[in-house]
Symmetry: C2
Subunit: 256 residues, 2 copies
């Protein structure tokens, strides 16, 4: 079956969506069949790959509630080998609706289970919280990839995130591991970035990717064109960094 990765960090604005879209695109460019699951009510991943997701048919919301098989929610993207299960504004109500429901933690895992054959990788873009949606992603995942902005508040939340991953591993998903931490929006001229990077590497060692994603304006321009930055401007530093990240990730996975 596919390798399922949750792209998670409760700190907001650290590059989860940008990493989900562009890592998926780079993996697809290497010939892997990749499915993105947009589990964030904001729907940024859906917009970022060019979908006008608000007018669409079934979404991740229907798949979670079990009313539509996940297979029927999958939509192609402009990137060959890459598809997406789009978000829905109804997702922000799903937290409240699922609280009292049966099997509330394992719904995404069950929905993905039907999809096993078609994909090599599934990347789940998580909302900025450790609520029921992110727990569903951690239960469904084989591993967690943590985008981390090299800033003080982002570093502060890391230990809480690692404790949550550990709790889910013990209670609901014994196979769950930390795939790695990737530093994002890194500005070499800014001392703070170097300090945070040094701290994180001291804390987590080689679970921090060597590849660092630089702050690069082309990355933040790409979503307004509905394209991953790899399609918008492959030569820019941001796109190249995501290509390197995919390479490093595949080496880790295949070496594991």
């Amino acid at each position: 079956g596919p390798r399922v990765l949750a792209i998670a960090n409760q700190k907001g604005g650290v590059g989860k969506t940008t990493t989900a879209i562009n890592l998926a695109t780079a993996l697809a460019a290497c010939g892997k069949r990749v499915l993105i699951v947009d589990l964030d009510p904001q729907g940024n991943a859906s917009t970022g790959v060019g979908l006008d997701w608000r007018r669409r048919g079934p979404t991740i919301y229907e798949a979670l509630l079990g009313s539509t098989p996940l297979n029927d929610c999958v939509v192609d993207t402009p990137v060959p080998n890459m598809a997406i299960v789009p978000s829905s504004v109804d997702l922000s109500g799903a937290e409240v609706e699922l609280v009292a429901a049966e099997r509330r933690d394992t719904r995404l895992r069950a929905a993905l289970h039907q999809e096993r054959a078609r994909w090599d990788y599934v990347l789940i873009d998580c909302p900025p919280a450790l609520g029921l949606l992110t727990v569903n992603a951690l239960v469904a995942a084989d591993a967690v990839l943590v985008p981390l902005q090299a800033e003080f508040y982002a570093l502060e939340g890391l230990s809480h995130l690692l404790r949550t991953i550990e709790r889910v591993r013990r209670a609901l998903n014994p196979a769950l591991v930390l795939q790695g931490v990737v530093l994002t929006m890194y500005d070499r001229r800014n001392n703070l970035c170097d300090l945070v990077a040094k701290d994180v590497r001291a804390y987590l060692g080689d679970r921090v990717y060597r590849t660092v994603i630089p702050r690069n304006v082309r990355v933040s321009e790409a979503p307004s064109h509905g394209k991953p930055v790899l399609l918008y401007d492959l030569a820019c530093a941001g796109a190249q960094a995501y290509v390197h990240l995919a390479g490093e990730m595949l080496r880790r996975e295949e070496g594991a």
Copy 2:
């Protein structure tokens, strides 16, 4: 009673906490008595004013559940005239706990109601979501201040936020208004910022503050020293912008 402002935006990392802390500090410097309420389970506002909030006594969690009067949760900060009700990691469980509870939307308003006399302003730092915690803030607030990063994804979420404010106004809090939108982390060299700023001003007119908060590394350094940037480096562009923002806000409020 005090003027209660919710600092809200479901988009992550747009400067909600930074705006709550530094606007509060600037208002306190003008002689206003200001209370910050840290409604985010991440607790960044508590850390940003120098609190070691994980070892403390009662928090906003106890005040919301009604087990402790809000008055007993208030902690002084190093800034004269400014105090804070600290966050708690238990807050991320509060969403689930409050769903089935009585009066789940009005708990913060009820808790603040006891506090009327002591403060001129109450600033509520919201988590990056439109769940029960943010709804509590919108129900308790007189007005909403929306920090907005001049980026595509942040702009995309704005209409959803405005619709949510309107829904809360109609159903739960008829007095609620949009205080204004403040552009944050603005980089004048980046075309995207100008495009987004033009879009937002065309959409919302003078509900967008003239004061723009520039991207300024001193602002992101200040939290690691447990200080608002106004204390860390008052002369820097970021701190000065927050001083101007407070001035513009007071003129709007008093002119209203």
